[in-house]
Amino acid sequence: MTVSRRAFLAGSVGMMSLPAAARAQQALPGDLHYLTIAQAAAQIRARRLSPVELTQAVLARIDQVEPKVRAFITLTRDGALEAARAAEREIAAGRYRGPLHGIPVAVKDTHYTRGIRTTCASPVHAEFVPSFDATIVARLKAAGAVLMGKTNLPEFSSGSSGNGTNNPWNLERPTGGSSAGNAAGLAAGMFFGASGGDTGASIRGPAALCGVVGLKPTYGRVSGYGVMKLSWSVDHNGPMTRTVEDNALLLNAIAGFDPEDWATAEVEVPDYTRALRRGVRGIRIGIPQRQMLEGFHDDELRAFQAALDVFQKLGARVAEVELPPTLPVMADAHNIIRICEAASYHEPFLAAKADLYGPSNVRRDVEAGALLTAGQYLRAQKMRKIFVKQMLGVFAGIDVMLTPETTPAGEPNKARFSPHSPFNDSGFPGLVVPAGVSTSPLGLPLSIQIVGKPFAEETVYAAGHAYEMATRWHERRPPL
């Protein structure tokens, strides 16, 4: 049965004489494609906005900007409209599933999608069509989300390139990798939320360069079942959005134990939105010692300092903390763990399809990684346990750690330490939020990272939301 837009919207009292877009804009300033999930969900729930019209608005936006941004590998236009119509029917019948119902989202093209090609941006998987959904995809569908398509990444998630995806803030500048299409698509208004993956920066880096919000959750918080791997023990999957609140809404849907993924933790999943308005009064924020900040871009350090000032005005206490002494050697251990696991994951592809690898360095790297020994791998994993213990010690006296983010898009990175991979190795959650605009070069997004203790995403979100509300950097839009 088809529900007409008119019938769907008839549920909204007093709004019947206006077209849907006008109704939504009357209630909410700005373009439909730049609504937040929370805003769009409120309109859909009240039946002032139809999932079909929202999806059509997003498809129109995609038609407008995709030729410039190139965020997608596969755009599932027909499937999206079908899912939107199904959502509309359900909501009209009184079966509203929650805040993702009827909301257009995307997933990195590492996520298995039943009946939809899943390439990992490699010719090796050019024709691969999974017969089941990744747990994340299944959970998004169960929440009623509308899948717009599969987003771009560097081949097999390896490296920091955007693989042809362009930064909406400056199309000549990179997006970073590997969740490049997610970050660029969000910044460009091509969907409202996305699921990405992060082995050493791949959610947080592109989020920072494109001026959106990205969470690398605690290891074990979100299932990786049915997601193509770079490294089993270092990979994290997590939500990317335009606001912290939306990020919490997305995490609500995808977090939790999965019997198909033994790495997922049997830790209760709270409603992450409840923590958003806790504020930061009295929380203890640790920052790296001054000498550790050497080499970060001047604009980034300026944004970092300004963020500290904001948090202190909001009532947080800030103190320097000493990072784990094993931080430098952990970087070596990270590379060994990552490549040994990648080599194992790639064994069947190297055996059957080695000649199909693309022009990236993936084949070279995994072939070489396969030559490392079990003893060398285990030595790296021993270092990791020492490092995790030290990191837990650092966090014993703080609630969150604040770090500068990566350098503005395309600028050289001379930072003394990576603000990313240490938290993949320790598994601690890290949230990137927009925090300013670069002056040299002009106009590129700047960000900060808020890191929490294991499974303390609520605290991280509370800090991120408080900062967001105090600064409004997240409301900037690229000049597309």
């Binding site: 070489a368 030559l371 021993k382 270092m383 346990k385 020492i386």
Partner: protein
């Protein structure tokens, strides 16, 4: 005293690479060895730096097994 990895010549490393690849069941051609050598040397340099750390006998790797029951009907078959 054990030989440092960084002291091993490229020619010896290439022979090692071929031998390990054969033992792994996927031999490397001479061309692939040349392509892969820089990456292998980078990894060995990381191994060498890591090996300088004074691990204790009691230090354990950061992984563990956690057996969890799956849903009725068993585990979905992984593809590929």
């Amino acid at each position: 005293m054990a030989e440092k990895l960084s002291d091993i010549s490229d020619e010896d490393l290439k022979q090692m690479m071929k031998a390990i690849a054969r033992a792994n069941g996927r031999p490397l051609t001479d061309e692939r060895v040349e392509i892969d050598l820089p990456a292998y040397k980078n990894y060995l340099a990381a191994v060498e730096r890591l090996s300088a750390y004074a691990f204790r006998v009691e230090d354990e790797p950061a992984f563990h097994f956690s057996y969890k029951p799956g849903p009725a009907g068993g585990t979905k078959e992984r593809e590929r």
